[in-house]
Symmetry: C2
Subunit: 272 residues, 2 copies
Amino acid sequence: MTTQELVSQIKKKKSFLCIGLDVDLEKIPQHLLEKEDPIFEFNKAIIDATNHLAVAYKPNTAFYEAYGIKGWQALQKTVDYLNKNYPEIYTIADAKRGDIGNTSTRYAKAFFEDLNFDSITVAPYMGKDSVEPFLAFSEKHTILLALTSNEGAFDFQTKKVNEQELYKTVLETSKTWKNSENLMYVVGATKAEFFTEIRKIVPKSFLLVPGVGAQGGNLQEVCKYGLNENIGLLINSARGIIYASAEENFAETAAEKAVELQQQMETIIAEM
Amino acid sequence: MTTQELVSQIKKKKSFLCIGLDVDLEKIPQHLLEKEDPIFEFNKAIIDATNHLAVAYKPNTAFYEAYGIKGWQALQKTVDYLNKNYPEIYTIADAKRGDIGNTSTRYAKAFFEDLNFDSITVAPYMGKDSVEPFLAFSEKHTILLALTSNEGAFDFQTKKVNEQELYKTVLETSKTWKNSENLMYVVGATKAEFFTEIRKIVPKSFLLVPGVGAQGGNLQEVCKYGLNENIGLLINSARGIIYASAEENFAETAAEKAVELQQQMETIIAEM
């Protein structure tokens, strides 16, 4: 999917909500466990109930790998279901991959071609030749970890490298890579004040923002400093939506939580 | 497996060779493609022919993910085969994972419990709480990326952070994490001179060294600066061994290449 198609969808739905599909069999409604593929059934119900409110879905691969082969089958079925039934939806494999050149190419093919995701999250530590194989795919996005929403972000990401923080060095350096127009960045919502600095370096890029809700980030604050003329933000919420209820009507409850966020976003867009 | 068991195996076999199982269906002997699971058949033949020469095997997960469900099945069968038939062998999932706390726990369970690997490679960018969930597993090792063997290593890893290079900051910081005795580090062989500096910070840790052979690293140089009293090195070779021949007798040829490295290692150990 092109950036422009994503922007069109955002404007049409008046939403820049991304829903994290981080499926934990201990947290989903227990009646689903009787089904042949409880993970997929859960995702399908959430997607069917919320697709008009969200522009993107983001399964975190760790939750699927944890269930082995069955988990991978559920992941594949989920992205196939999205691509077939809701082709306008933007899909993100939250995989945080990254390896040397020929190996990154393998990961890129796995997620972009075989699974047919629109984008994947990638870790920057191994530098240019670990990321460019992902960037080589046109109409696909590579979402580079810049400033994450966890406590450990302060261990290295905010340390000064030649007078500026490492995450800023990552942002600036990545702009020089081939096909860098296919980059987006992960920026945690727990540090809204950082968005001003980030927007100076990447004014036009989309930022994927985890950490609104469960991790303490504030939607209004993030938008105040992070929005750009194309919106430029994808706000991810997982637990706050998908686990809002574990009753039979869990999908309806999830949609109610998603509406709350979508309506806040609609107001924010209207005030731009 | 404990560190001491690994050291015992090294001393017994007079080898600190790790063989990288990076299976590419375009490079393996073509007669294997007729088998039901060509990836596993290839690995099995390589393992059966080389297990007396190597102390560890390291499948890179990217090569398996690239083949989807079938790839994951082949990975699972490979590690099961190693654990059942050669329980003394040390297994490394070269997965370069890392995510926020509860998500890293998922990855740790997937690789340590379900797949039953002895160790996994992990990326440091997200800091302490992304790595400690792996370290919590006793008798398992977490192999942290420090200084990788690719060109992109110079983009961030060797940049100065508060007067010392980022990879040194990663090494020093990681020593303060809980259960840090379960850490090993990835250090690329293409930069042998760096080993002196690295050994000042982590004198006792095992280092996993890719890049000998195909990527240009030199075994003698690495050992000169990297060995410690427990050997402390696992030297990985993949392409130079597993793709030495694509004929019917590929496994024998692989063993010949492995013997060459093992004999060099035996000489180096004898001279210690």
